[in-house]
């Protein structure tokens, strides 16, 4: 089913929902995150291995009550200041943390996709994480007796991905770095995919993953939907923007002013991109 982004968020993302916007550095669904901010969703349980700028923005705008994550920084730059402000100072509201390692969270997504109640890994040994997260437990191998780490499955109410292409039947193909996109998609109760383009036939590609149309609730055409992240083969990551964000997000006032002008002040992702282009010119 093809919807506009506003329709898809309106219809499928409700206050209080658990929401995973996945994509590992690549194909981060920025447009969808901005639309969630515009529609002023509240009390979301945000799930994402690497929160990145889009969760910094959603947290700073007060959308989130809880964060499940494994690495919360600005990749290659430093801190996510809004995430820090929420954790260190409860601004704009307290944020509950469900903190994992990448390996643990990957196991949790895989368990979710398989509809198993828990995932197993050899992990977390010798770390303080289990002492602070009751979601990290142990399970004994019924053959060897070895104790392994266990994490509960992640099954988001809604997973949102950005992809390069869908075909007219609604099958979606992603290539390049895929992260945990497939597992997050298959673990979800509802799956929304924004795409760069809709094509007659999906082209062959190395290392591609394909998601069949009937597991997808909505396909949303959204050119540039991953910017300032990137879409392999379509446009590059705007590393400069990631660096600029450090200054924008450092103070509450500059953050709010920027969000007000660029996100709330833009009616959609096209207007957001046009605004940045005007500013650059």
């Amino acid at each position: 089913m093809t919807l506009s982004l506003a329709e898809a968020i309106e219809q499928f993302v409700s206050d209080g929902a658990s929401v995973a916007l996945e994509g590992f550095t690549h194909l981060i669904p920025f447009a969808a995150g901005h639309e969630i901010i515009r529609q002023r969703r509240r009390d979301l349980h945000l799930i994402r291995m690497t929160p990145d700028l889009i969760y910094d923005q959603m947290i700073g705008m007060g959308c989130a009550r809880k964060l499940t994550f494994s690495w919360g920084g600005n990749p290659g730059v430093g801190s996510l200041h809004r995430l820090r402000d929420a954790v260190e100072n409860q601004w704009p509201n307290p944020l509950q943390l469900d903190e994992h390692s990448h390996a643990g969270m990957a196991a949790a997504f895989c368990a979710g996709a398989a509809r198993l109640p828990f995932g197993v890994l050899r992990g977390y040994a010798g770390t303080d994480l289990p002492a602070h997260n009751p979601n990290i437990r142990h399970v004994a191998c019924p053959f060897t007796g070895e104790l392994l780490a266990a994490v509960p499955a992640i099954n988001p109410d809604v997973t949102i991905l950005h992809a390069q292409r869908a075909d007219r039947a609604g099958n979606v193909a992603i290539h390049g770095i895929v992260g945990a996109a497939r597992e997050a998609a298959l673990a979800a109760k509802t799956l929304i995919v924004t795409v760069e383009e809709i094509v007659d036939e999906l082209p062959p590609a190395m290392n591609a993953i394909v998601l069949p149309h009937w597991i997808i609730s909505a396909v949303v055409p959204c050119r540039g939907g991953a910017y300032p992240s990137y879409a392999h083969g379509h446009y590059a990551r705007d590393n400069a923007f990631y660096q600029q964000w450090d200054a924008i997000a450092r103070e509450r006032a500059s953050f709010l002013a920027w969000m007000d002008e660029h996100v709330l002040g833009a009616k959609d992702h096209g207007a957001f991109l046009a605004g940045l282009q005007r500013e650059a010119a």
Binding site: G72, A106, L121, G179, Y227
Partner: protein
């Protein structure tokens, strides 16, 4: 030797540790520079894995993020992230893992989670990422970290990944499969674990660094190994290759990006 910065020297010293065709699990920053420098100089057969799932990458410029498209474009293959962590790292297929951190203690345990109490942190750091399982499963771990009394500490605020735990074989007895931190490359030289106590000792100094400098930068009473080596200064070839790589990288990242409108 040309004059060089301590970051350059650290990078070159780390690159020299990578001999043959090791499979390296690489992090962004100094480790990425060191691994690619090794690939471009004495170790063309080195296999670089980034946690984004790119295997056997040969980037022409250094990535800014762990998931830059350059890494995928030059990879032998790209696999989903769960597969990298379970079928490669956990499966014991990684020879060398690189880690950084905000804090390290005398047994090579690392903190990248919080400064202060977990529930009311003074500084919230990015967190674990791939580190706990890299620390657990890689056959050897190399740590790259600039030294100061705030980073080389008597006691971690939070243990994010395991080094030798309390030393004296506690790591091995815990069932960890990998070998633990074999070297800490820092801006005065290198530390390595003592065979029995597994306490990090000063084992090598850059030619222009001193034991006093090292001791001043470390927050525990730093022991000096029986045999203290001097790390040879970068050769012109090493330094030229590294600097050319850094120039290419800066140029590539300075190119303005087209807004996809």
């Amino acid at each position: 030797m040309s004059a060089c910065t301590r970051d350059e020297w650290m990078t070159i010293a780390a690159a020299r540790l990578l001999q043959g065709r090791p499979v390296c699990f690489v992090g962004i920053g100094l480790p990425s520079a060191a691994c690619n420098l090794a690939r471009l100089t004495h170790a063309p057969g080195i296999v670089l894995i980034y946690e984004s799932g790119t295997i056997g990458t040969r980037p022409d410029v250094l990535p800014l993020s762990i998931g830059d498209s350059e890494l995928a474009e030059t990879a032998a293959c790209v696999v989903p992230l769960p597969e990298i962590f379970s079928y490669y790292l956990q499966a014991g297929r990684v020879d060398i893992g690189f880690l950084g951190a905000a804090q390290i203690d005398r047994h090579g345990n690392l903190n990248s989670t919080v400064i202060g109490p977990y529930d009311a942190p003074g500084t919230r750091l990015p967190g674990a990422g791939g580190a706990p399982e890299i620390a657990l499963h890689a056959k050897q771990v190399f740590v790259m970290l600039r030294a100061s009394r705030r980073s080389f500490v008597e006691r971690l605020d939070f243990r994010t990944s395991a080094g030798y735990l309390d030393g004296h074989g506690t790591r091995a007895r815990s069932g960890a499969t990998g070998g633990g931190p074999r070297a800490v490359i820092t801006d005065f030289g290198m530390l390595a674990p003592h065979t029995e106590s597994e306490e990090l000792q000063l084992t090598a100094l850059f030619a222009d660094a001193t034991v006093e400098e090292a001791r001043a930068a470390v927050g525990w009473p730093l022991q000096v190994a029986d045999c203290l080596e001097t790390i040879a200064a970068p050769s012109a070839y090493e330094l030229d290759t590294l600097r050319a790589l850094n120039v290419r990288t800066r140029e590539a990242h300075a190119r303005p990006v087209h807004i996809p409108l």
